[in-house]
Assembly symmetry: C2
Homo-oligomer: 200 residues x 2
């Protein structure tokens, strides 16, 4: 199988790839996400454009080195009533975000882009999962934020870790909530790039 490059430095995303037995190398993209956030106010368009930009950045870097690979990029945001919620910058912001999300459902949206170094085609898609939280008190939220799980996570939580204690239910892909809709990865690699992850 051709080398797989994951154009993302997300630890959670890397972990799902590892647990799925997919060999990969990381090549994180140096994209100014703020620019995109100013330009695209539609959540789905934003994550798709960010995933595309990350994939194309990685492709350019690989071509410079004459390295052949399949490139997989993604971007995840939380959306609540049309508002785009990204990562918190500090504890205070994490508390504000979590307070907003408690006791209701939000959408976790991941944009994905897959391309190859020797192929002009770029496949772009997205996936949405709704996530419903229990209603934690402010004191409990402060207790959760203390353990720093909010750091680097869209929506300031990690479903694979302690946040599982306040996630009442989800509807949609569960791997999407961690950082990549893995069923769409399998389908896209099979249908668009001729790679079957169960027959390698």
């Amino acid at each position: 199988m051709k080398k797989i490059i994951l154009a993302s430095k997300s630890v959670d995303r890397g972990n799902i790839f590892k647990h799925s037995g997919i060999p990969f190398e990381v090549l994180a993209s140096n994209i100014d996400e703020r620019e995109f956030k100013e330009k695209f106010s539609d959540p789905i368009l934003l994550v798709k454009e960010l995933a595309k930009a990350k994939a194309l950045y990685a492709k350019k870097e690989l071509l410079k080195k004459n390295s052949q690979a399949i490139i997989i990029a993604a971007d995840t945001i939380v959306e609540l009533n049309g508002e785009i919620i990204g990562k918190a910058k500090n504890k205070k912001e994490a508390i504000v975000i979590l307070k907003k999300l408690m006791g209701k459902s939000h959408n976790l949206i991941t944009g994905m882009a897959i391309t190859e170094t020797n192929n002009p085609k770029i496949f772009i898609d997205y996936d949405t999962t709704s996530v419903e939280f229990l209603n934690l008190s402010d004191e409990e939220i402060r207790g959760y934020v203390k353990i720093n799980e909010w750091k680097g996570r869209a929506g300031a939580y990690s479903i694979s870790d302690k946040a599982s204690l306040f996630i009442k239910k989800i509807n949609g892909s569960s791997s999407n909530v961690i950082g990549f809709p893995m069923h769409k990865l399998y389908e896209t690699l099979k249908n668009e790039f001729g790679i079957n992850l169960f027959l390698v």
Copy 2:
């Protein structure tokens, strides 16, 4: 906080507890599950009775040693159109189970039981999550079974691992699919046993 005993030798279940930052020790119960399966044909009653039996077994063992603890037990099965599907005994059985589950939705049901060594109360509950699979071919199923992820798992798959590639969507608690409905653990310990996992 009082010592927590997880009356289960499931690696997946242990992992969710670890990732949730809950300190625990394992005390696996020596229960003849076949007896229960013959006695209880209702899936929900079966997992509740099995969880209860495991919790009470662990309690007896702990009391023998004069050890004080909170005991958490669980049992997970897959249910498809009323049929109870447990763990596969070998590769051939794993293939038969997975063929049945492909291209449709099944229910993942976990029974849970929580008690304390110094408390006659035993709290018993269950949780159901529906899981929808993509439609993998027989060849792909054989490819999946080769990596031995089916071993020791109800329904012969592990949502945290490679099976995420063929899980289209879930509806309900995602930790329940791994082996324990963690939001119910948080609620039960808080409401029934006075332990708040966010304030420890």
